[in-house]
């Protein structure tokens, strides 16, 4: 106890006094067209937008109680970081609006702050604990991770992966190769020309609506969630569907049959033509194959 | 163990149905067996306690796989060997083998009255063996397993098992005759 009090007093004495009120931000630095922009903010929000200028600009507000905004860079690497005092009891969230050269690689880390990225053409790597992650535009590659925050990648035309623990993961407009997983959150994917999609949950439901590119592969696995695949009537693929204790509903071909000698277990393998491959497995959830 | 077979299978059935008290009964009846095996195979008293706990937690979790084809103790012994060996595999990736010398006193204190001098000397000498030689010796010469079974569990070739056993016996003979 004594030690902590002593340290707090020292900290107050040495460290620059934190902002007593909300503080407006308006700073900019030159940056290269395809450099790295790294952002860290604990709470509040981070909104990153690409533009056609060779500079990074930060506007928005620094939350009350924050120590300062660290905004540094060499052109190829720019860092934007909200620094909190070590002994703060309460700090308000900071809302950062950041413009970056459109070709930048964007890396954002937050705790509870929501992350939004739009109009960035470079790769994006976003990580939050409880914040929500939203990506628009057409990044070259995406990677998003949260613990409880939801993830929505609106234009997932690029290869990428998104995973959460309890948050829902939604990928829209997929036409590349993607992975999406959540332990208990729902995973949903839409896209008309999916070349490879690997979807996994433990208890979350999985929903896929769209079509496969020629030779495409869709792989959906869950333990207790349900799997719903909405596919074009003309889908040509080899299907491999199993559930241990759930039901299989199929609008494409034959009905499932029991396969296991000892326990329950249903398996359904059939082909609607050469090309794609669709695998859907659930341990206790239902699997539905429906025509769009 | 001392629990009659029918009483034992009652306990197993209740434990399989989720009865923790019944599982405690099984624990009381078999802990000495599991602990002895962990102690001899690990050659380290603190690790042996940890492993013993792991074994029973695993046993509880996997009780469903026990179908009464063998005695519960036999099933538990196999599980124990798996736990010890997999712990050993995991450990080997991160540290050199644990030197047992600091724990030898624990072996001595385990049940002094019941242990004549030679038995204790032998326990200490076993603990000081190189790990693989120790595993093979304990399984073959104390537990009475066949080489083929040991090879299957350890992932070693039968010839390698035999070489380890040979080495263990040679080292132990030297210790005991000195």
């Amino acid at each position: 106890m004594m030690k902590r009090v002593g340290l707090s007093v020292m900290a107050l004495a040495v460290v620059v006094l934190p902002a007593m009120a909300q503080q407006k931000l308006d700073e900019r630095r030159p940056a290269s067209k395809d450099g790295v922009v790294e952002v860290q903010n604990v709470s509040g929000s981070v909104k990153v937008t690409g533009w056609d200028r060779d500079e990074v600009a930060v506007t928005g507000t620094l939350g009350r109680g924050s120590e300062r905004l660290e905004f540094t860079g060499t052109g190829v690497r720019t860092e934007v970081r909200v620094v909190l005092p070590h002994f703060a009891h309460h700090v308000d969230g900071s809302d950062l609006e950041i413009k970056v050269p459109a070709g930048s690689r964007v890396e954002v880390n937050t705790v509870s702050a929501d992350i939004g990225v739009d109009e960035v053409a470079g790769p994006v790597r976003l990580e939050s604990v409880s914040g929500r992650v939203t990506v628009g535009g057409a990044p070259r590659e995406f990677e998003a991770k949260t613990v409880s925050g939801g993830i929505e990648i609106a234009a997932a035309g690029a290869p990428g992966r998104a995973s959460s623990v309890s948050g829902a993961v939604a990928l829209k407009g997929v036409n590349g190769s993607v992975e999406a997983s959540s332990v208990s959150g729902a995973v949903s994917v839409t896209g008309d020309a999916v070349s490879r999609a690997e979807l996994q949950t433990t208890s979350g439901d999985i929903r896929f609506e769209g079509g496969l590119a020629s030779g495409g592969r869709l792989d959906a696995k869950t333990v207790s969630g349900s799997v719903v695949l909405l596919l074009p009537a003309a889908t040509a693929a080899d299907f491999d569907v199993t559930t241990f204790s759930g039901n299989i509903t199929n609008e494409f071909g034959p009905q499932a049959k029991r396969t296991s000698e000892y326990g329950p277990g249903k398996e359904l393998s059939f082909s609607t033509g050469a090309g794609g491959r669709i695998v859907a497995k659930s341990f206790s959830g239902d699997v539905r194959l429906q025509k769009r | 163990m001392s629990t009659p077979r029918s009483a034992e299978s009652d306990l197993v059935r209740s434990a399989q149905a989720g009865d923790i008290a019944a599982f405690e009964g099984l624990y009381r009846a078999t802990v000495g067996l599991v602990h002895a095996l962990c102690l001899r195979m690990a050659g380290n008293a603190a690790l042996a306690e940890e492993l013993t706990q792991d074994v029973f937690v695993r046993a509880w979790r996997n009780l469903g796989t026990f179908r009464g084809e063998s005695a519960f103790a036999t099933w538990l012994t196999r599980l124990t060997v798996n736990v010890v060996l997999s712990e050993r595999r995991a450990r080997r990736t991160r540290e050199a083998h644990v030197t047992p010398t600091g724990d030898l006193a624990a072996l001595a204190g385990a049940a002094p009255a019941a242990r004549p001098g030679t038995a204790l000397d032998l326990e200490l000498a076993i603990a000081a063996l190189p790990p693989q030689a120790r595993h093979v010796f304990v399984l073959h010469d104390v537990e009475g397993w066949e080489h083929a079974e040991i090879a299957r569990r350890t992932g070693l070739a039968v010839g390698t098992c035999k070489a380890h056993l040979h080495r263990a016996r040679r080292l132990l003979r030297e210790v005991l005759s000195s």
Partner: protein, 222 residues
Amino acid sequence: MNCQEFTLRLDDFVDGTLSAAERTAAAEHRDQCPGCRAAEARVSLLLAHAASLPRAVAPERDLWPGIAARIEKRNVLRGVFGGAGRLRWPRLGASAAAAAALVVVSSLVTAVLVARRAPAPAPSGVSTGVTAASLQLTQVRGTYEAARTQLLAALAARRGSLSPATLKVVEDNLAIVDTAVHNMEQALARDPGNRELPALLVTAYRQEIDLLQRATRIPARG
């Protein structure tokens, strides 16, 4: 047979695993060679001592409370009120958790690949129902359990720095995966030849390890 040959066969001789012809030859040599006779006597004495070691050695302290705590934790996880109870974290050294997790993740990946490629189980009369996939699973399970224990310990070491809300999400989801693993293990025990279960089980293992890894890297105040 000379002394060198006898020494090479000594183990098999005392174990009774030599062929009849070799056994006779070895016995003949022993009967006329005092040195080898003494060697055989020493091994036999050693084996007699080994066989007479107590089969049971009670631990110095009662280990049941520790086991009960871990079991009850699992029970809470398993029960209808899953996630309502606080997890008890094992108090173990947390070193090298990340390294172990890497090992497990890569071996899980291997297992998934193997499980996928595993051919249909041969129609065997063996009651254990062992398949290539289930064998692989047994190996993976050990690694998974070891990494899980370490990561739980690593998480325990820093759980004070996590927010209660995040901790709850982590614990609730660990409970979800544990329940899933438990249910599948039970199903696999009833239907050991099932070709699909090992792959699904490994998927759940991997999700748990991923979750734990993520949780151990959550920044402070998260």
